[in-house]
Symmetry: C2
Subunit: 110 residues, 2 copies
């Protein structure tokens, strides 16, 4: 069983606080879209270190934080690994069709 | 019959050149989303001067230009008025569902 550490990530917005503006600001960035695309394609939670993104670690951390604050991903620790969950159902309930439309679109960065 | 002037607006991208990146960059701005929303709700072409947007004329002109270059609107002259057409079908063919999802979403700016 994976160990859940005491370190908690608590700055996830409630679904009621997810806004179109915040989600668009997050997803206008191609690296952040690539993270979301990889999560959607994996169909399971992924640890931060295993995403295929060509940015420095600190830039990556920033991108994950923007996605988290927009309500697009949820993060939690599994041992020392920071895991990422795509908040598909939350997004669908607030912004129906938006995530699917973005994921379905041809995109230059993968 | 409205007169079509000789002044032509020629910098509209072909539908093949409409990209997710360009459309998101255009629609991340709430004023530009408001313009698109007003066009969609009107269901007909609207002249630039009659949009309800609280920006200066030059800022407005800039926003229309960004929308035009992203392939979201088409502009043409009718007499001395600059008219705006929402490129719904072009957008739907390249980015299915995206415009509808954005228009359906609750949005702060109207």
């Amino acid at each position: 069983m994976p160990q859940i550490t005491d370190e908690r990530i608590t700055d996830h917005p409630d679904v009621a606080d997810v806004t179109l503006q915040g989600v668009l600001e997050a997803l206008v960035d191609p690296v952040r879209r690539s993270i979301v695309r990889q999560l959607a394609e994996a169909g399971q939670d992924i640890r931060c270190g295993t995403f295929d993104i060509s940015v420095t670690r600190s830039t990556g951390t920033h991108h994950f934080k923007v996605l988290r604050h927009a309500g697009i991903i949820r993060q939690y620790y599994e041992g020392t690994s920071r895991m990422n969950t795509l908040r598909r159902e939350d997004l669908e309930s607030v912004l129906p069709g938006l995530l699917d439309a973005i994921l379905a679109a041809p995109d230059v960065v993968h």
